[in-house]
Point group: C2
Chain length 224, copies 2
């Protein structure tokens, strides 16, 4: 009896110790690990350039197609696409700035209208187009960037969309999620039925009238 008690105490002490070590390990590494930005950037570079990003996009769009196949498409069925890092890629300029940001350089890049299409998004866009889904771009870009954005989309193969919605002067005070959900509400009021919403930021997918939510990966930045 005494021996049994002693053995149990030993076991539970050991288990407690191991649980503690495990908890501390998990806590220390996943909650708030400080990493040299060179290391963090190189990991992100590897993710985008080694094929992992492409693989993830393929998987996400395959799942989205499986969901779309279950839906009966109507005349007013619409899909909402975000622009930056959803339809068009900013990876090149981000890498050129060593994954940093400079207002003027990014502004010039946007106005150049030379952003490449994200090919999996374009493929999914065309898949929806063939099904007769109405295609709408909804972006946090400003009205001054409308022409460059419109031209960039068309030149990259995003043709035949119904509308491109950008931020007007009075929309600038709104947060990204608030602006986008308000615009979706207006689209609903105009008769559209949104069946799917595609974006790389959670702010693209928050709020009502999104339909199927398709979240693309983005390890470069986060929009609030």
């Amino acid at each position: 009896m005494k021996l049994f008690f002693f053995k149990n105490t030993l076991t539970s002490t050991r288990n407690l110790t191991l649980t503690l070590i495990l908890s501390l390990t998990l806590l220390s590494c996943s909650s708030n690990e400080l990493i040299n930005l060179r290391v963090a950037k190189d990991r992100v570079k590897d993710y985008y350039e080694s094929g992992k990003y492409d693989e993830e996009l393929n998987k996400i769009y395959n799942e989205a197609k499986a969901q779309i196949e279950k839906i009966k498409i109507k005349d007013n069925s619409a899909a909402i696409f975000d622009v930056d890092d959803t339809a068009l890629s900013n990876y090149e300029i981000s890498k050129r700035l060593d994954y940093g940001y400079d207002f003027q350089i990014i502004q010039d890049w946007v106005m150049s209208a030379k952003l490449p299409a994200i090919k999996q998004t374009l493929e999914f866009y065309n898949y929806l187009k063939i099904k007769g889904v109405k295609l709408i771009f909804l972006t946090g870009r400003n009205i001054e960037e409308y022409d460059a954005t419109y031209r960039n989309l068309i030149e990259q193969g995003y043709t035949d969309f119904d509308t491109l919605i950008v931020r007007s002067e009075q929309d600038r005070k709104l947060g990204a999620a608030q602006f986008k959900s308000q615009k979706r509400k207006e689209l609903i009021q105009n008769g559209y039925e949104i069946i799917i919403c595609v974006g790389d930021q959670w702010t693209d997918l928050e709020g009502d009238y999104t339909g199927i939510k398709v979240k693309l990966p983005n390890y470069l930045y986060e929009t609030k």
Copy 2:
């Protein structure tokens, strides 16, 4: 005997399992965790701005002083200081570029000669100066940046140094560590005895003739 064997097997199986879990946990989180760069940048920002960076510098220089106190300073005793993020801080421009890099912007920043001193380094520099240690700056910056660097150091309070060594045209093909250790060798040949070497990169401290190695933290970048 049989029971004993069985008990041991159980224990070792459990230990093996726990070791495996622990190893996998450590491996998965610390070796290659992919983090959104916004998150990685915010952690680095917090490190630099919350006082943790200052705290670490204070601790490092206190330890360095304790080591210096054990040394008999001679007429030819010399200390080597790196410039960028050792004597002068690039944190401000790094933050302005959202922790990225643009050649022209960084070049303009260097040429502005307005980099602030890292106050703990300046304090340690003055401590060595009072002790009669010869003070030498050794930087990977180029010859075109010599004047701006010289002026910046003086204006920030780094006065009375013996020499400022930058990369000449023919040094440009050398890696940072190779260039710096070669220059240290030349200093030795000129009669200096290097008692301490201070830098934020391991390349500042690799090779011979370093004396005491003082490695400052740098989570912004790594120099190869």
